[in-house]
Symmetry: C2
Subunit: 253 residues, 2 copies
């Protein structure tokens, strides 16, 4: 069994503990959590520590904490030259402490505490400083996911920025749709099949092929009537900005 220690007790750590529990090749030997209570429902209490000096020996340490806490965690590790990876999309390897062998183990998905995820469907992006470490990371990742990618720090940053567009920003547009419905006493429910189909479409078509609507059709009459309809300044501004962007994009070869 490959021995893994998880550091952190947030959403990513929770889901990793659950995923590894089903793996036959990887064992979570220990979880470091400042709040021990946060993970007691997921594993034996003797496997939980809140003291860096009690960290167990392991093949791999996975730091699953917020981006700005990663450097601090690394500096507090009381050992050297072990394989230590983080789960962040945006922290480059060369920005980190050299005391240990570094790597990245980035599951690209949005995690919520109360929503179970099927980890086998989640892409995991791996990076390490040497080939031997990469092989270990690959074994660990493949034990829980069907899609594992080798991704360097620059590519990972591009993925993270793209994820902000297709997740954070998309969800914000859902919210604007919701607000427009509420203001006009229409149930948001009516839009849900459209939301699902919009996502499903780009599973088989490219987003460029899937683009529809008044902006790409240059239907100036409908666009003008929508702009007149949107009295909220922010909604109005975003409507104009994205319409313009679709129209300019449509002109590109």
């Amino acid at each position: 069994m490959i021995k893994v220690v998880l550091i952190g007790s947030g959403n990513v750590s929770h889901h990793l503990i659950e995923a590894f529990a089903k793996s036959k090749k990887v064992e979570v030997t220990q979880v470091f959590s400042r709040q021990k209570d946060a993970v007691t429902h997921l594993l034996d209490s003797n496997k939980i520590t809140d003291d860096y000096n009690n960290l167990a020996q392991a093949d791999l340490y996975i730091i699953a904490v917020s981006d700005d806490a990663i450097a601090k965690v690394l500096s507090q590790l009381p050992f050297e030259n072990r394989l230590v990876v983080h789960t962040s999309g945006s922290v480059a390897l060369d920005a980190l402490d050299k005391k240990n062998r570094k790597g990245s183990f980035y599951p690209l998905q949005t995690f919520s505490k109360n929503k179970t995820v099927n980890f086998s469907q989640i892409p995991i992006c791996l990076e390490s400083e040497n080939e031997t470490d990469f092989e270990l990371l690959e074994k660990v990742a493949q034990s829980i996911s069907d899609t594992v990618f080798k991704i360097n720090s620059e590519q990972r940053k591009a993925l993270h920025v793209s994820a902000v567009f297709v997740n954070n920003f998309v969800n914000h547009l859902y919210q604007m749709g919701n607000e427009i419905c509420e203001a006009n006493k229409v149930p948001f429910e009516i839009l849900k099949p459209l939301i699902l189909e919009t996502a499903n479409k780009v599973m088989s078509l490219s987003p460029k092929e899937a683009q529809t609507g008044p902006a790409i059709r240059n239907d100036m009459q409908t666009i003008a009537s929508h702009i007149a309809f949107l009295l909220d300044e922010n909604q109005n501004n975003i409507y104009k900005t994205l319409t313009q962007s679709i129209q300019n994009n449509g002109k590109k070869l």
Copy 2:
């Protein structure tokens, strides 16, 4: 059987012909198509006409043509006082010719010619000028869909604008994500599970509850590094605009 004549041969008409073919209560008596070939694979050629003077007697005429062609079609109908509806999200009833009894039959979904849809899952929004006509529209809609709503012209406009946000604009953000991936030699495939989960999340959580990412966390360091990363002026501008909007929205009560 309720007799329906469809006018138009685009995506919406195609999908309606297929959906009504499975209905036991509604029969498509005839389709008007300027290009007869466009629908010959879907019904008998003796049921297709390209001449308004040959339009058959029916309980309901559904005009499924582009928004700006609706008024012209209505003016060419050689009869009066029959029930004639359109399938547009944005054309208000009072903007239309009074010669016939007007209504709206608006299936809220994105249609592509080569992608089959399950019509039972598509919300249909209905409007008519009187109660008897509404009852007929309701029977027709319920024969193909499980979710039928009474929606007036103003509400329909709000829905249509919302649909632009959650479909057209969302798809454009998918495209920007795709472009960022391509420019950095990362497969867009990696983002697909995230795209699906983002849509799935708002089936059970409100978009406000589902919001994650650097903007809502006020993670200024990550935001600054993303802005520095985005050299494309349009991508950079949209990143800033939507980040600002999420942050302002987070401050609202």
